[in-house]
Structures are given as structure tokens and as C-alpha cells.
């Protein structure tokens, strides 16, 4: 052959076994960790091993830290689960943040206004239902416009986040204790009204179990239910869905009500079980992180557990080292970003194969 032939030739892979795919992803994570280590050393002059050691300690170092880790995984996993049905329908719900916040806002409102007059047995379920409803409405509005007029959902849901943030900011000023502090403070600190009770002496166990149940539920919903089948068809081709008589509009709205409702439940969990207060930054980027968890796991709820674990570990670990080595809190975002870039990039090697010029023959033979 002559020498003008392109040096690198890319072809789409027929199919790759899941084992090989996970080996590639594993390699990406390890490479990312090495790059991050180099970055850490360059930026701070610290020994990367002690940094990673500290991170490990920060995530798993004590039973308390383990419980916090579990709770954080539960939150992120729950958001990812919530976003997945919409995502699988090719509906970009970037509004997880707002849906969490609005669920949290409604939960707080109930705790503040009716907390004293209802027993916890009625109050907490009421908070749950209201939060789910609020989240569902927050996602349902963009879904309605998407279904009726094909309004760009990516930006619509994103803008709904900011509307929710401002709404929360408004109520924080109304509810602030003490006046002028700009904070709501711990709600019902004395009466514990609306506080989720401990389960087997553990504060977070209930939340973790609930999310475990939801994981199974979403798995079954997506894989085996009629609804799950319908939303997959709508996501792949709206025309095919219409052709077999699926009501596309109502599937879109229904799926987003579910998605938003679950995000609202996360807001409920955060206020009722852990924070007992509300701030504008309560969602903490989980709405966005959840999208990446869902995508990296290829919509597989079990794989999402591991993806959430990885990201939460990085964040908890990074928080630990930023206190230990007096780095900035945002350090975690940078490390998370680097890992994400490598994981995202590794998808290329799962979907495509590269042939080098002089290896062309071997390459085509072992496809």
C-alpha cells in the first residue's frame, strides 16, 4: 500500500462483552487516579499515597463515616434512579436540582406550619406525599410543554432549577430564625416533629433501605413493566410509538411525573432525615451528578450503585483531604471532573475500535 493511507483507522465495534467493557472502564478510573495524583503532587507538593490514604480514611475511616458514606450514596443513587426513566426516554431532565429543592421546600413548610398539630405517624407520610407531588409538578410542567409543543426540555428544566432556588430563597427570608440571619435554622429542634425516627438505633438506616427498595423497583419498572417498555419505544422512536398506538404525550408526562416525584422524595429525605433545615444549596449538584451516574451505568440500576459509590467516595475523600491538608473544598470537584472525563472518554474505546496502519490485517481478523 502507498504511504498516504491514514495512519489511524476507526471502525465501530460489532459488540463488546460486558467484561471487556468493565475492564476498559476500570483502566480509565485507574489512569484518572494516577493523573489526579500527579496533579495533587504538582499543586501541593504532597505525597500522593498519603493523600489517597487520607481519602480512604475520610470515606471509610469510622462507623460514623461509613454511615455517612452510605447515606450519601443513597441520596445520589436515588437521584440517578429518578432521572433514569426520563433519560432512557431521551428526555434530558437537567432539573433534578430544582425538583429536589421543591420537595425539600414543601417538606419544610409542612414541618413548620403543621408540625405541632399532627403526630409524626401522620406528619411524615404527609410530608412524603407532598414532597413527591411537588417534585412531580416541577418536572411535569416542562414535560407538558415538551409533549404538546416540543419545547426544548434541556433548558426548560434547567431554568426551573433557578426558579426553585429563588422560591426557596424567598421562603428562607420569611422563615429565618433569628430574623436577619439569612438562615432557617434547625426546624422543630425541640419537638422533633417531622424528624425521621431512627431505625435499629441508626439514623440513616431507614433512608438506605428505602433507596435499596427503590433500586429494585426501578429495575423491574424499566425492564419488565409495560410502562418501561413504552417509554423505551418512545425514546427510540416517537414514530414507532405512534404507529403501535402508544400515546406519546401521556407517556412523556407520566414518566416525568415519576422522575420528578422521586427527586422530590430525595428532598424529603434530606430535610426529614438528615438536615432538618433548608438552604438554597441543599441539592448540592446531585441533580447533575445523577445524570452522569445514570449515563455511566448505561441505565442499569445495579451499575448505578457502583458509579454512585465511586463518585461519593471521591467527594467524601476530597472533603477529608481538603480539611487535612488545608486545601480548598472545591478540590473534590476537580478530581471528580478528571475521573468523569476519563470515564466518559473510555466509552469511545468500548464503542469503537482503532486500527493502526501496519496492524490493519490483524485488526480485521479478530473482529
Amino acid at each position: 500500500m502507498n504511504n498516504k493511507e491514514p495512519l489511524i483507522h476507526i471502525t465501530r465495534r460489532a459488540d463488546i462483552g460486558w467484561k471487556k467493557a468493565w475492564v476498559i472502564r476500570g483502566a480509565a478510573i485507574i489512569t484518572a487516579l494516577i493523573i489526579s495524583a500527579i496533579a495533587v503532587t504538582l499543586a501541593t507538593g504532597l505525597d500522593p499515597f498519603s493523600v489517597y490514604g487520607k481519602m480512604f480514611e475520610g470515606a471509610f475511616g469510622s462507623p460514623r463515616k461509613m454511615w455517612i458514606l452510605g447515606k450519601e450514596i443513597a441520596f445520589l443513587l436515588c437521584v440517578s434512579l429518578a432521572l433514569t426513566p426520563a433519560f432512557k426516554m431521551k428526555f434530558w431532565n437537567l432539573g433534578g436540582e430544582g425538583q429536589i429543592l421543591i420537595g425539600a421546600l414543601v417538606t419544610s413548610a409542612i414541618m413548620i406550619y403543621v408540625g405541632e398539630s399532627l403526630p409524626n405517624g401522620a406528619l411524615i407520610p404527609l410530608m412524603f406525599i407532598a414532597a413527591a407531588g411537588a417534585g412531580a409538578i416541577w418536572a411535569g410542567i416542562p414535560a407538558f410543554f415538551k409533549a404538546k409543543w416540543n419545547t426544548n426540555e434541556t433548558l426548560f428544566t434547567l431554568m426551573m432549577n433557578y426558579v426553585a432556588i429563588q422560591l426557596v430563597a424567598y421562603y428562607i427570608i420569611i422563615w429565618e430564625v433569628p430574623k436577619g440571619s439569612g438562615k432557617v435554622g434547625i426546624i422543630n429542634q425541640d419537638s422533633l416533629a417531622g424528624w425521621m425516627p431512627d431505625l435499629a438505633g441508626q439514623k440513616y438506616l431507614f433512608v438506605i433501605l428505602l433507596v435499596a427498595l427503590m433500586t429494585i423497583g426501578i429495575h423491574v419498572y424499566l425492564k419488565y413493566s409495560k410502562h418501561g417498555y413504552e417509554l423505551t419505544v418512545v425514546g427510540e422512536s416517537r414514530n414507532t410509538a405512534r404507529y403501535v398506538g402508544i400515546k406519546v404525550d401521556s407517556v412523556i408526562i407520566r414518566t416525568l411525573l415519576l422522575s420528578g416525584g422521586m427527586c422530590g422524595i430525595v428532598g424529603w429525605m434530606m430535610v426529614s432525615s438528615t438536615d432538618h433545615t433548608i438552604t438554597t444549596t441543599l441539592a448540592g449538584g446531585r441533580g447533575f451528578m445523577g445524570i452522569m451516574v445514570s449515563w455511566l451505568a448505561q441505565f442499569n440500576p445495579v451499575a448505578m450503585i457502583f458509579a454512585s459509590l465511586l463518585l461519593v467516595f471521591m467527594q467524601r475523600g476530597a472533603a477529608e483531604i481538603s480539611t487535612a491538608f488545608q486545601l480548598n473544598q472545591s478540590f473534590g470537584d476537580i478530581i471528580t471532573g478528571i475521573i468523569l472525563f476519563f470515564l466518559i472518554g473510555s466509552e469511545f474505546f468500548i464503542n469503537y475500535r482503532i486500527h493502526m496502519r501496519h496492524k490493519e490485517k490483524e485488526g480485521t481478523e479478530n473482529v
Binding site: Y162, Q166, Y170, W295, L327, N328, F341
Partner: protein, 329 residues
């Protein structure tokens, strides 16, 4: 008393980062790349400029050369944004990964990057407040025409801005012209509409896509730089830039991919952004928070309306967000 001249000039100042972000994103989208990393890019652009300015202020020891004081932060900003552009291009164009996911990861990374280095610099200066002030550099960036003060309200509305504001408008006008009237613009639009067609016509898709994303990121990065150096008078504080990057992306749809329209649309948005400061609410601070919702609500309304109109020319580029692989079978 509602001071219209002050309001307008403040709105213009607010609009410049939006305009730069919007122009950059438009270039990128016209070539088929939906870059949701723009908010991150603007953070990186801003902090890179801050780092450049900081280093120069420290090393010059007070005798600053006006040209270098502007050039160094600007170059730092452009390089920072360019690197982000290259990252996005490599992942989405060469590796053909999903653009939305890549963009979101870039925003997470970019905001973290900005806040991390911002925080580190703040710690280095040992300041009491959580911000870093580069007032000397800012002085050069925000210098406006000397006669502006003598012209009353005309001067205030038209001549009271730093040079980057005028540059932003010039960039928007030039971009609009290139996209609409030149051979290069025709090729970029063809790639965004139908890369297979452009490819068959012998256009180097990869080259143009890289160029559009990278130039788009650099222009958007300048928006971050303008924000710190001119709008915020050289004061960097973490998270202060806020959500302007997202609004810039929304503006692209509002302006139906036309940077010349964006000049006015961004001023409108800038006005909405600061309206709460001008509305008399007395001691009721809570209501101000509701006024801050305005730009987002208007964006939503605009999205709904643009979704409803069906004219072919006003639709997004047809292959927006899709990777291109020539040998797809």
C-alpha cells in the same frame, strides 16, 4: 426614583458576559456542537485571567505597564478557555462521546477549578474577606473614554464602558457577518445542518468543528474575564459568577442563532437580572428574591414560544448534538 440612564448602563454591563457566552455558544452550535460546558468555560476563563493578573501584579511591584496589564490576563484567559475547548472537542469530536454528558462534566470541573484556584489565591493573599481584589488590573480593563463623563446621560449609556464591552459587540457583529455572508460561514452552517453533506462536499469536518468549539470557548471565556475585571472591579469571589453561563446558552435559542440579535437580547436579560435592585420594595427583602426569578421565567416563556413557531430557518441546526462518523453503516 427610577434612574433610567443608570439602569440602562447597568443592564449593558450585565449583558456583556451573557453576550460573549452567547456568541461563543452560537459559533459552537452552528457547527453542530451543543456545548453545555460553557458555564464551566466562563469560570475557567475568569480565573485564568485572575491568575495571570495576580502574578503580574505581584511581580511588577507597582510599576505596571498598561499594555502588559491587559495582555497578560487576557492571554491567560484565552489559553485557559482554549484548553477547555480542546478538551470538549477531543471528547466529543474525536472520541464521539455524548455532548450533553461531556458538557455537564466540564461545567462541574470548570466551576470547581475556578473556585479551587480562587480559594487558593484568597488564602495566599491572607485577606480577611473571602475574595481577592485586583483593583490595579481592573483599573486598566474598566477605563472608559475620557469624554464620557462630560456627555451626561448619553455618555453614561453609550460611552461609559471598558474596552471589552465594545469588543464583545464587535465580536458579535463580526460573527454574525461571517456566519451569514462568507464562504467559511456557509461551510460551518453546512456542518451543523448535515455533516455527511459537508463531508461529501470536501469540507474538513474535524478541523472546522474543533475550530468552532475552541473559538467559541475562547470568546465565552472572555465573558468570564470581563465579569471579574470590569463588572466586578477586579474582585474574584467564589461562585459569584453564578448562573450566567446557563443564561447565555438559553439566549442562543432566544436569538435564533443570530449574534447580532443577541446584542439587544442580552441587554434585555441584563436588565431583567438587575431589575430587583431598582424596584422599590421597601424593607421587604423576601420579595426581591422573587424578582430575581424574572430572567429565568422570561427564558422559559421564550423557550415555549420558540418551540411553537415552525419556520424552517428558525430551527436548531439539524445535527446539533449528534456525533459524526463517516463510515457509519
Amino acid at each position: 426614583m427610577f434612574d433610567i440612564a443608570t439602569f440602562l448602563s447597568r443592564a449593558v454591563v450585565q449583558s456583556i458576559p451573557l453576550l460573549l457566552g452567547c456568541t461563543g455558544e452560537t459559533i459552537s452550535e452552528k457547527s453542530g456542537s451543543l456545548n453545555l460546558g460553557i458555564p464551566g468555560v466562563m469560570y475557567v476563563g475568569g480565573i485564568s485571567g485572575v491568575i495571570g493578573a495576580f502574578l503580574y501584579e505581584q511581580s511588577s511591584g507597582g510599576n505596571m505597564n498598561p499594555v502588559l496589564a491587559i495582555l497578560i490576563p487576557m492571554l491567560a484567559c484565552l489559553i485557559g478557555s482554549l484548553l477547555m475547548g480542546l478538551l470538549f472537542s477531543f471528547l466529543t469530536i474525536t472520541l464521539r462521546v455524548n455532548q450533553n454528558v461531556t458538557g455537564l462534566a466540564m461545567t462541574t470541573f470548570g466551576v470547581g477549578f475556578g473556585n479551587f484556584f480562587g480559594g487558593s489565591l484568597i488564602k495566599l493573599t491572607g485577606s480577611d474577606v473571602p475574595s481577592i481584589a485586583l483593583s490595579k488590573t481592573s483599573h486598566y480593563f474598566s477605563k472608559h473614554l475620557p469624554f464620557a463623563d462630560d456627555l451626561g446621560w448619553v455618555g453614561k449609556i453609550f460611552f461609559s464602558y471598558g474596552f471589552l464591552a465594545y469588543a464583545a459587540i464587535a465580536i458579535a457583529v463580526i460573527t454574525a457577518f461571517i456566519l451569514k455572508r462568507t464562504r467559511t460561514g456557509l461551510q460551518i452552517r453546512a456542518i451543523g445542518e448535515s455533516p455527511a453533506t459537508a463531508d461529501a462536499a470536501g469540507i474538513n469536518i474535524t478541523k472546522y468543528k474543533y475550530l468552532c468549539v475552541c473559538i467559541g470557548c475562547m470568546i465565552a471565556g472572555l465573558g468570564g474575564l470581563y465579569y471579574v475585571m470590569d463588572y466586578a472591579s477586579g474582585v474574584w469571589s467564589n461562585d459569584a459568577f453564578g448562573d450566567r453561563g446557563w443564561l447565555a446558552i438559553a439566549l442562543v435559542i432566544f436569538t435564533i442563532w443570530r449574534p447580532n440579535i443577541a446584542i439587544f437580547a442580552s441587554i434585555l436579560f441584563g436588565g431583567l437580572y438587575i431589575l430587583y435592585l431598582f424596584v422599590p420594595t421597601g424593607s421587604n427583602l423576601a420579595v426581591k428574591e422573587l424578582y430575581k426569578m424574572l430572567p429565568y421565567i422570561v427564558t422559559i416563556i421564550v423557550l415555549i414560544i420558540t418551540g411553537m413557531r415552525n419556520k424552517r430557518e428558525n430551527q436548531p441546526p439539524e445535527s446539533l448534538g449528534l456525533p459524526y462518523f463517516r463510515e457509519e453503516r
